[in-house]
Symmetry: C2
């Protein structure tokens, strides 16, 4: 059975201190249900990373179903660290494909800014290995620092080579009214940014923020009756890798990215060359670089060149078209759904100032931890 997206909703990414977790989720859900013009939902899938530690709240499926007026429906929360959003999407896709669920709602929601300092760092590090990484004081930024330093050493490249990933993201974020950061910046400023975890600077790292995004999915057949432009989910795949970075044969090869994009493209019957647009997991510039390499879009050690050569701005594969994690902001467990909403808008031609021309095949990729989990979705419009 083919699955299609019939509703999209999202809030701005930033600091939402004035609303509760459930209300933030509802804001995105309300828009997605309005967009799909339905309230007839059989199941809810919630992607979230932090709530257990930051809000002392688990059991988000029932909580958000109830608050959204969907009392009684099947509901579940799923977790795969920063990949929680896209993994929730995957569960919904499987549920619709099974024939047991007719219409599913997926929401990614995160309230990240209620905590500060070491509490916040502790919550945001739960996607890493608590026994072998976090216990030594490692954080997501520190892990990215280790990977970036090693990459620079092995491939003899400097910090400046990574700049255009962020220049591109901010250029696109500047046109997205929902983006957390809308300022543009020039590549020359990139190497002067304050360090977060040497060599990762403020301009390599995506800002963690609050946000919620939602999609409604159903069978392609039913979708045709519901909306003028259903977006087909032609590929959906989750893959895993060695959990701790030190356990990987090659710490600069994102095996889960390779596997999940291979599986998703195989489902869609497409090759990577068929993809017109790529919402990648640019949590750090090194993660963008490594993802491009693991997907075969660049040779090993040369992923940064796609940024340096500005292919990503107006070139053959537009990326981070709404600002990516870097400028739209990174609401962790919600990020994967933002990516899917953005690709779907591009395919429908409803991307406003961020619209890319002639998009028929879009790819969204969400990564948990340092690549322990990667999720790839292929979206298409006919």
């Amino acid at each position: 059975m083919t699955v299609a997206i019939v509703g999209l909703g999202q809030t701005s990414v930033g600091e939402h201190w004035d609303v509760s977790l459930r209300h933030l989720a509802w804001q995105a859900i309300e828009r997605a249900l309005d967009d799909a013009a339905t309230t007839d939902i059989d199941a809810l899938y919630v992607g979230n990373m932090l709530a257990s530690k930051s809000s002392h709240q688990d059991h988000l499926g029932a909580l958000i179903a109830d608050y959204s007026g969907l009392r009684g429906v099947e509901a579940v929360a799923v977790d795969a660290g920063e990949a929680s959003g896209a993994v929730a999407m995957r569960q919904a896709v499987l549920a619709v494909m099974s024939g047991q669920i007719r219409t599913a709602l997926v929401v990614g929601v995160e309230k990240a800014t209620d905590q500060t300092g070491s509490e916040s760092l502790s919550s945001q590090s739960t996607g890493l290995d608590a026994d072998y990484e976090t216990v030594h004081g490692l954080t997501p930024a520190a892990m990215a620092g280790l990977m970036m330093r090693r990459y620079m050493h092995e491939n003899e490249v400097g910090v400046a080579e990574f700049a255009n990933f962020s220049v591109n993201a901010h250029a696109n974020g500047g046109k997205n009214p929902l983006a957390m950061f809308r300022n543009r910046f020039r590549a020359e400023k990139f190497t002067k940014a304050p360090l977060v975890a040497d060599p990762v600077s403020l301009f390599d790292a995506s800002p963690v923020g609050d946000g919620a995004a939602a999609v409604v999915i159903t069978s392609q057949e039913r979708a045709m009756d519901m909306v003028p432009q259903p977006v087909r989910v032609s590929g959906s795949a989750v893959a895993t890798d060695a959990f701790a970075l030190a356990d990987r044969q090659n710490p600069l090869w994102l095996k889960a990215v390779e596997l999940s994009s291979e599986r998703a493209l195989r489902q869609a019957g497409l090759a990577i060359e068929d993809v017109n647009l790529f919402e990648l997991h640019d949590s750090y510039t090194i993660m963008s670089t490594l993802a491009l390499e693991a997907m075969g879009l660049a040779d090993p050690g040369r992923g940064w060149k796609l940024a340096a050569e500005e292919n990503i701005l107006d070139g053959r594969l537009p990326m981070s078209t709404f600002g990516g994690l870097k400028a739209r902001g990174n609401p962790l467990g919600a990020t994967g759904i933002y990516q899917i909403v953005e690709v779907a808008h591009q395919l429908r031609g409803s991307a406003g100032a961020n619209q890319v021309a002639d998009v028929k095949v879009g790819l969204a990729q969400n990564i948990g931890g340092t690549g322990g989990t990667a999720v790839t979705h292929v979206l298409q419009i006919d």
Copy 2:
């Protein structure tokens, strides 16, 4: 497509201070894979409630897949409070039914005893409503106390009427080498137990412990080639209710239990009278009482009579046959998988000293929070 269970594994429930979360999960997984005589697994579904707060560890899908030698497979952790285990099972069932996953492994794992005191209470209360319940100091036991007091008032019954649920559980737990409590006790002692949250006493409440349980599932067709006695999963349903107890029209009616058992039985094409055995969520005697009423097994206000009349010991509907949450122990996010493993053993005739005669249809029911989520599985053998 019909789904069947081909492998079962479980650890003892108790205090497992000597092993890590991942190793505890592996102990159950190893047994389930051995039982199924396969290592050919396409996806892993993990049920867990506490790890985020108690072990500072999320992202359990990739973590446990890696540690179990399944690097690369699709993996996800799911959460629905104390119903996390059965909800993980539901995701696996949907995945196999979708045709995308051939063989799935489900593990419920919990390390609950690493924390003590208020930290432990805080972790164990995340299945309740943080904004409207936990914030006022309410805990799972306190919520059960409110429900039991209201029930006793409305129906004019005393504490002693609930005794036989626990007498039965301990009688059965005494024969289960994996049970946390193997002592028998007499009904006369029931009313003399120390109070946990008036009127809930130590003998009403299930003990929280560490444990892991795992099952391997695949299509019924493939299962027939793999093992001599596949157990059919003929019904699998999740339902939700008002999240906070105070929001329910009737705080003594478990609507999610009613809905999920109706849905699961409808899938199986069975009536409640066809069920031979019921592993219910006896976290508190009041929860057992209310579940029996919501399922139509007893009239409202009369669920306790099924215990008082000892129907549950040798009568028409054996319950908690391995000791239930009360005596086998309650490893929270793992509990739902223990229940499924136990029903499957009864159906296969491999329940040892706990074997019940002539079991053809067994039902397992797992509840999150005060009933915000309920999950019912119908298992059968031909």
